[in-house]
Symmetry: C2
Subunit: 212 residues, 2 copies
């Protein structure tokens, strides 16, 4: 890809794809950027600009073909095949991740789960036998899995991520509430509800006025 | 506040605060923007620019006083007092949210949990007796809670959010995997691991080259 596409644009594409999937399930065949923007709380101009990075979609004044645009976005994002994933850390948080029903229907499947606690290793959770984290490097080299979910305590997150990166993982969903690092060609996304809450309290406090 | 502070700046402040808390717990007294930037994978210039919206911190060439900057950021973000929250939806996802140990230490406390399932209402989960969602409006008017967590199925999310907004909620953490709307003065943050994964597959696919 010769053109540099901003990360924020890539971050928005799955949101567009999700809205198109909803429209498709409602039986809609055409949508314009105005309506799509209203559904998503963004401007129609932003949608048109974001999509323009990837070519021409839709005809002037006619809107987008819902099914076709949805399929194109899935193609662009690499969502037309299943992605196997590994999960590291099956404490309380990891168990919730394992039991989460939202991954499978979207083509993301946890094929292996690892933990360091001898009491947890060998137990069966959500249909997977938990493996020892000592087996992680060998297992990754064999399976060539490129996506990992990290749900270990903060203190262990970086060392786990180093092992993942050294064994071919290219995308990491990090649930550990710490800043972690990886080489430039490895993507990390953090899921931290506390950070999300803390950026909203700023605005709630402003609404309350200067007294509080 | 007269100056318009970009949302992305506000989003980064909790990340800075978290790094400062870590430095504080390591016994560090001073840090410069260079080191802070390296820890967080951002440029020192960005840190200085973000902080400049809120006044002058630190002295040229001397770095920041870790404890003081941490405290100032907590003040700015409104984190110096506890925030009560309500949770709507205690299915599998809601239960994981209820059991999540990360909120309390950061001053966020779920004081009420609501569900629509008669089998769930009245049961005790993580120390809270689940209330009927029919009691939500009255309960919110009485408690004046301003933060809510939504963990209901996607199809019910918007109607729950409408009730929350109509009864004074100003910040919503949405776990339902759908785009939802609220008036301009209400903040919504979405926690959706699938969206995060879908924006990373784009890059993993690129690394794999054009053949796949």
């Amino acid at each position: 890809v010769a053109i540099e596409i901003p990360d924020v644009v890539i971050d928005r594409l799955p949101v567009y794809a999700r809205a198109l999937a909803a429209l498709e399930s409602e039986g809609r065949e055409v949508v314009n950027s105005q309506e799509l923007g209203e559904r998503l709380g963004v401007t129609p101009a932003q949608i048109r600009k974001d999509l323009s990075y990837f070519g021409r979609f839709g005809k002037q004044g006619r809107g987008y073909n819902v099914g076709r645009l949805h399929q194109e976005l899935r193609q662009i994002l690499g969502l037309t095949h299943e992605w196997p994933m590994v999960l590291v850390g099956v404490g309380q948080l990891g168990r919730a991740v394992l039991g989460y029903g939202g991954f499978g229907p979207q083509g993301f499947r946890i094929i292996d789960a690892f933990d360091s606690d001898p009491k947890t290793v060998g137990t069966k959770l959500s249909g997977l036998e938990v493996k020892s984290v000592e087996m992680l490097p060998e297992s990754l080299r064999r399976s060539k899995v490129e996506i990992a979910i990290v749900a270990v305590p903060g203190a262990n997150a970086q060392s786990v991520i180093d092992i993942l990166v050294a064994n071919g993982v290219k995308a990491i969903l990090n649930y550990a509430p710490v800043a972690v690092h990886a080489p430039k060609d490895v993507r990390i996304k953090e899921i931290d509800p506390v950070l999300a809450l803390q950026s909203m309290t700023f605005y709630v406090k402003m609404l309350q006025g200067p007294s509080k």
